[in-house]
């Protein structure tokens, strides 16, 4: 029972660590219909910013997170403005060429990080990195718990932003029909740029939350791409609430899989879940949650 409880707690917390990254993905993929394989690389950039803030300026990672978000926001804006926006204007046989562009971006970001920071593994040690509290013999990591609450806060904010503000609605409108949004007076290229920026900032925030408990190196981002896809599909494309619920479900499934099947097959659980959701629940959890 303790074992089961421990697995579930670990899973929920782990899921919440994925949540922000996936939230960024759901904005970029779900709302903007861009399959972004550079997403993980942006998480990586965010982590390095937080890392530098910590080591150069002694900034706590939870504060460094905001610096990371700003940098990632700008980076996302640049990517969208000068690369993806240019690509959507040209016509191609396979719309998936946009995916390849993001792969190119991923390579470039990763290699730049490598040139600056080398391939060395880096981590930061904070006073609370290894803090745990115990509930009936089950350990709960404090930094993960903090991450959990931050994830919920960001999700709620983003949800309100998208459904209640005009800017948020403009984002959704632009995603559905760029030209039509222009007819309404929306500067749609600016909107796509902002959206990609916000998505990237969220990804970076997710990375920052991980830093106190994890580590980083230039390729670290690849760990998160597949997970964010799974969560985005699981939660339903573009659904903010879906993203966080999906993240927690994925985390729990991985955790239980690791405990009761094998840690080696942990990722398999997520992938199979992914395919099953694609096949049998095409709308994702969104269909239940109602945006």
């Amino acid at each position: 029972m303790v074992l089961f409880g421990q697995s579930v707690i670990s899973g929920v917390l782990l899921g919440s660590m994925y949540a922000l990254i996936a939230l960024g993905m759901t904005l970029i993929m779900g709302v903007m219909k861009i399959i972004n394989l550079a997403h993980g690389a942006i998480v990586m950039v965010g982590m390095y910013v937080t890392y530098v803030c910590f080591h150069q300026f002694g900034l706590d990672p939870y504060l460094g997170m905001f610096a990371a978000m700003i940098v990632a926001f700008l980076l996302g804006c640049i990517i969208q403005k000068y690369m993806i926006n240019i690509l959507v204007k040209v016509e191609s046989i396979l719309p998936q060429n946009q995916v390849l562009l993001t792969i190119g971006i991923m390579l470039v970001l990763t290699e730049i990080a490598r040139l600056i920071f080398t391939s060395d593994y880096r981590s930061i040690a904070t006073g609370y990195s290894s803090k745990t509290v115990f509930i009936a013999d089950m350990s709960i990591s404090v930094p993960m718990l903090i991450g959990f609450f931050i994830a919920i806060a960001f999700t709620t904010l983003l949800h309100l932003f998208l459904t209640k503000t005009d800017l948020g609605k403009s984002i959704r409108a632009t995603a559905q029909d760029r030209d039509a949004a222009v007819y309404m007076g929306v500067n749609s290229s600016k909107i796509t740029v902002i959206t990609f920026g916000i998505g990237s900032a969220l990804a970076a925030a997710g990375g920052s939350l991980l830093l106190p408990i994890f580590y980083l190196y230039p390729d670290v981002g690849q760990l998160f791409n597949a997970k964010s896809f799974i969560i985005t599909i699981l939660g339903g494309m573009g659904s903010t609430m879906g993203a966080i619920v999906g993240a927690i479900i994925l985390g729990t499934a991985e955790s239980l899989g690791a405990t009761y099947i094998s840690m080696g097959y942990k990722d398999l659980v997520g992938l199979i879940m992914f395919i099953l959701v694609l096949l049998f629940l095409p709308g994702g959890l969104k269909s239940f949650i109602r945006r």
């Binding site: 396979l94 946009q98 992914f274 096949l279």
Partner: protein, 320 residues
Amino acid sequence: MKNKKLLLTIIALIAALAVPLIIKAPYQLHMVILILIWATIGTAWNLLGGYGGQVSFGHAAFFGIGAYSAGMLNLYLEVSPWWGLLLGPIAATMIAYPIGLICFRLRGPYFALAMLALGEIFRILFTNLSVTNGAQGILIMPEITSKVFYYYIGLAILALTIMTTYKIVNSKIGYYLVSIREDQDAATSLGIPTTTYKIIALLPSAFFTGLVGAFYMNYVSFIDPKIAFNLVNVSIMIILVVMLGGPATTWGPTIGAAIYIILGELFRATLGAANVLVFGMLVCIIIMFMPNGIIGALTNLGRLLRQKKGWPGGTKHESI
């Protein structure tokens, strides 16, 4: 027109046969063999992805199964891994069928992601199963060392692949595939069983990918799951090769493979630490400025030069 095409093909074939007479240095010939391998994978992918519009991010699964077929034959039955050239494609085709049934229920980006997931599933399975030697991979001793020999085998495989896809593409199946790519609903309304035809395209695509996977194993003599089922270095590279050369064209994948291999090696050998960085930038530039690959860019240029007037702004279509 037709005769000209035939003539060009024959010239190309003769030139290809003569390559080992001209390029004698084994290192260069090694590059050419790699080009043949990637050209074959690209051509196979192109049938499903370029013509059929079903962009698969999981072709590493077929490649890996082909390669493992050769390796496991050698490991367990101690027969020559060359038998893999027989078993590999068959195994890949057999696996492809259920994969097709599952994934073709999905469209567009969903299909792409499902294939991506399937490729990863195979990687994890092959890493954890002990029959496949798990993460340790399979190492064989190459029996034949002559590069010329590998060259001709590779050339034969590529020629077979190109000929087969060409035949398919210019038949009813080809028209059906392109129509599915252009508008699946319209295709259905014209009586096309879309899933069936996608599978019809997938099977040869998997077959040739498996074939070349087995050849690859023989040539490189070592595989492990990380190599054979690699998402970025196999599945995505295939697409890059096709996009580079020109999707939905006969020679695009071959041209793309040549450029990819030559540039990749050139960068690796000369640029030092920045080589992957430059490669990544090149990918971005090509995709942004040549969305239909080099062949696409050339035909567009041709159009601009040739066709100035004419209502209704239509561009006359080159043969599909």
